[in-house]
Symmetry: C2
Subunit: 162 residues, 2 copies
């Protein structure tokens, strides 16, 4: 009987360990399940906070489009800007905001899509307490690239995201 | 001692059960982690097999673009077709193929991006043994919608995906 108890306790310990390892592996896999690569840290002054860009194209310039995957750490955001040809955002992870000038900010989650009309002044970025990832597709780029206006101040950001 | 053994065996049983439930929950959560909704079953003759479309836009027609999330069950695929304004595919799940007419099919996985030039005849769809999900962004739609050509025959499909 003593031997049985010892065996069952050893088995128990192994089981606890393996169950815990399995859970850990699942969590690690999920964390690595970002859909597109994170890319390089953005050093442009047109962004505030820490953000990353994985530029995906277009290699075929006859498409008149460009697209990239953008990852914002909490509080990171673009400056105010506009696109002569418009842009579409596909949110793939986290929580963030899109705000058109003069309108309330729109809270965004994974699975949301934002259509940004031509020449509308706006910003997008992460929520105060969440990472935020989206694909950005700039359209009709034969009309020109993004027009950068200026920073979204901490006051504007805090007001819009509270 | 007998009591201890009994206790530890009961505890062991509970632990096995809870570990198993936890794993199951993790798997279920992962399965539900599609980025965009699956939408409605496609009934168009321009597709073979079972596929689903979640049309996302554009509501703003001045963007000259349209975009949707397409889910293909194994073997499902589009017919041969082309886009006057080009198209971009962002692969979010599974395994599938893109083939331009006269070229080898390209095997695609989550995280891949395909630029489809204007007027290039092609098809895309799932691998024989995998579901396949992508966002499709049709560009420069002021040049017209997709031009449908005809089915990718089983022979063509089997040849290209073997």
């Amino acid at each position: 009987m003593k031997y049985s108890l010892k065996s069952s306790l050893i088995f128990l310990a192994i089981l606890i360990a393996s169950c815990s390892v399995e859970k850990k592996t699942d969590e690690t896999n999920r964390q690595n399940e970002t859909v597109f690569p994170k890319g390089e840290k953005i050093t442009s002054n047109n962004f505030a906070g820490t953000a990353y860009l994985y530029m995906m194209g277009a290699k075929d310039t006859t498409l008149d489009a460009s697209f990239g995957n953008v990852t914002f750490e909490p509080k990171a955001r673009t400056n105010w800007h506009s696109h002569p040809g418009g842009q579409v955002l596909f949110i793939t992870e986290g929580e963030g905001y899109y705000q058109a000038k003069g309108e309330p900010a729109r809270l965004l989650h994974k699975g949301d899509v934002v259509e940004i009309p031509r020449n509308v002044k706006h910003w997008h970025g992460a929520a105060p307490d969440s990472e935020f990832v989206h694909i950005a597709v700039s359209l009709n780029t034969d009309k020109g690239g993004a027009v950068w206006i200026g920073p979204v101040t901490d006051e504007e950001y805090n007001q819009s995201t509270k």
